[in-house]
């Protein structure tokens, strides 16, 4: 029983880290309707920029992380402005291939600029373990969860209280109606990508501290899909809850199933969950059931 509780608690913490990854994805989808297959690469970009600013330039972290977030936000705006805006009314396939192509470019450029060596993130998040009620928690993951919650709060405030946030909600709801009320699609799309870039920098910082900064971070991109499908593609609180569910599923299957069905099953367990969710409740737990049934 103790093991079960421990695994569940670890999974929940891991879930907050997934949520940070998925929030950028949800923002892009909510703001511009693009399924972003390059989220993993954006996180890689974020991780490299953060580690470069903090370690190579030696900027203190309270200045360095916002600075890196700004750089990534600019990158996000550039991606929107020069690639995706030109494909505004193109088919789904064109949009998917465009984000895959952008991911490929980012991945190649990062390795060309920063080399193949694994860079380490400066130790800003504490690394020890905390013990609460007989359960052990990695301090890094606890702080990551705190960052995730703060981010959720900030985004919730942005979407419900600021004019731009409300405009983004309106555009996500009904593109044409929002345009006729004077909202600029270009501004809204660019904002979505800018925030997604900034969030990716944060995600890169958290995951880079966890795994080290190199090309393996791209693999995280695949884990976003179970999270967002479960939570609904355009719900930010959904991303957090989806993240927690996926984290728990992964942690429990690592604890109990890996020995039964073959090594590393925990990495694909969330994907099996994804297939089941798609079959049973395609719009996710928190998405709107507007998805077209075939």
């Amino acid at each position: 029983m103790g093991e079960f509780v421990q695994l569940t608690a670890n999974g929940a913490l891991l879930g907050f880290m997934y949520a940070i990854l998925a929030m950028g994805f949800v923002l892009v989808f909510k703001g511009s309707g693009v399924i972003n297959f390059s989220q993993g690469e954006l996180v890689l970009l974020g991780a490299y920029v953060v580690s470069w600013v903090l370690a190579t330039l030696g900027v203190p972290f309270w200045l360095g992380i916002p600075l890196a977030a700004l750089v990534c936000a600019v990158a996000g705006v550039l991606i929107e402005r020069f690639a995706l805006r030109r494909l505004l009314n193109e088919s789904m396939l064109a949009l998917i291939m465009a984000t895959i192509a952008l991911g490929s470019i980012i991945r190649g450029l990062m390795s060309l600029i920063f080399g193949d060596r694994t860079r380490s993130m400066p130790e800003i998040l504490p690394t020890g373990t905390y013990e609460v009620l007989g359960l052990r928690f990695s301090a890094l993951m606890v702080w990551a969860a705190v960052i995730g919650l703060l981010l959720l709060g900030a985004l919730a405030w942005f979407f419900s209280k600021t004019k731009l946030g409300l405009a983004m909600q309106a555009v996500a709801d009904d593109r044409v109606a929002a345009q006729s009320l004077g909202m600029s699609l270009g501004v809204v799309n660019a904002t979505a990508w800018a925030i997604a870039g900034a969030v990716a920098a944060l995600a890169g910082f958290v995951w880079g501290s966890f795994l080290g900064v190199d090309g393996r971070l791209i693999a995280l991109g695949a884990l976003i899909f179970p999270v967002v499908i479960l939570g609904g593609l355009e719900s930010i609180p959904g991303a957090v809850i989806g993240g927690i569910v996926v984290g728990i599923v992964e942690s429990l299957s690592a604890g109990y199933l890996d020995d039964v069905v073959g090594g590393g099953f925990s990495t694909v367990a969330p994907l099996l969950l994804l297939l089941v969710v798609l079959l049973v409740r395609p719009y996710g737990l928190f998405g709107r059931p507007e998805i077209e049934r075939v």
Binding site: I35, L93, A94, I100, F225, L278, V294
Partner: protein, 351 residues
């Protein structure tokens, strides 16, 4: 002059002329030329290097044609075709090497396996479409990749499946010429099949489902049925591509069928021209040649790159190529070719 026959319209005199696959003398001339060059001249003239390169292009083209049936003709996006190719390659390898079945039985059985396996994920397409289907097939890709690594399908410690060469009389796939001929023969058959498919009820039903699924349902074309058929055909052809890869490489491991390959298949049909047969072949040549030019072409003009630099540069160029085609010529290489052809056909007039 065959050119003029094309310009003045078609005057078919009997039913046989009407149902020909390659309907104008002009097209027949070029197809015949291609066949003669591909099957008679190249095997004698080309050296081992070029036979291997052409073989790689052929394998990629078969896979691209397979995906084209699903994406180009039926409008369903699949990010998991490398997984279906893997099912084909692995089942063929297991059946010939571990179960000792003859090749002529194992290859069709392997295609059947790949097709049936894809139906598991095709069923998802009955429930969701568009990007949701893309995500579901992405999950299929990762699940198969995991299974190939986690389960010891090869039955040996190395996780490698060996393909014994096929030997029929003088024809032997242990030789470069034999491998080349096997791949090209299969490519020719697949080209003929896909070209024909679009003229049958099945193919036209697929196109109807792609263009407007509700309207298709309204005129009595069941989208469910034809989506599943498209998944089956498309994945069987992808499976054939996997089998051919196995025979040309000799051994197969899970590393050959990663998500990268699935993306390459999509890039092939996008760069070549969506929903066209020559496009898939042209796209396969383009995408296959890209790394080869970086590796062997650049040193000729005096630029030497380290191996890891080539990989990263390839990644950047691959992305740029896809974006360039999306922005500039969304009909792909085949569209480009047609534009150029039209220009010369009407020259010196502009229309």
């Amino acid at each position: 002059m065959p050119l003029i026959a094309m310009e003045t319209g078609r005057f078919d005199e009997n039913h046989r002329q009407q149902v020909r696959v390659y309907d104008t003398p002009h097209r027949r001339f070029w197809i015949l030329t291609l066949l003669v060059v591909g099957f008679v001249i190249v095997p004698f003239a080309a050296n081992q290097y070029w036979l291997t390169v052409l073989g790689l292009i052929g394998v990629a083209a078969v896979g691209g044609l397979g995906l084209n049936v699903l994406v180009g003709y039926t409008g369903q996006i699949s990010l998991g075709h490398a997984a279906f190719a893997a099912v084909g390659a692995y089942s063929c390898g297991i059946m010939t090497t571990r179960l000792g079945l003859p090749v002529w039985l194992a290859i069709p059985a392997a295609l059947l396996c790949a097709g049936l396996f894809s139906l598991i994920f095709g069923v998802v397409s009955l429930r969701v479409k568009g990007m949701y289907l893309a995500i579901a097939t992405l999950a299929a890709q990762y699940l198969v990749e995991w299974a190939l690594h986690a389960w010891n399908l090869a039955g040996n410690d190395y996780g490698l499946i060996t393909f014994e060469p096929i030997e029929i009389g003088a024809f032997n796939t242990a030789t470069p010429v034999g491998r080349y001929l096997l791949i090209m023969a299969c490519l020719a058959l697949v080209v003929l099949y896909v070209e024909n498919l679009t003229r049958t009820r099945t193919g036209r039903a697929m196109i109807a489902v792609r263009d407007q699924d509700m309207a298709a349902a309204g005129i009595g074309v069941s989208p469910f049925k034809y989506k599943l058929i498209a998944f089956f055909i498309s994945s069987s052809i992808a499976g054939l591509s996997g089998v051919l890869y196995g025979f040309s490489a000799g051994i197969v491991s899970a590393e050959a069928f990663t998500l990268t390959l699935s993306i390459q298949y999509l890039a092939i049909i996008l760069v070549g021209g969506l929903g066209t047969v020559p496009g898939a072949v042209l796209g396969a040549a383009f995408i296959t040649m890209l790394p080869i030019v970086l590796r062997d072409g650049l040193p000729i003009i005096g630029i030497e790159l380290a191996a890891n630099m080539q990989v990263h540069l390839l990644s950047v160029l691959f992305g740029i190529a896809i974006l360039a085609f999306l922005f500039l010529e969304s009909k792909g290489l085949y569209g480009l070719f047609r534009n150029i052809k039209d220009y010369f056909r009407q020259w010196p007039f502009s229309y």
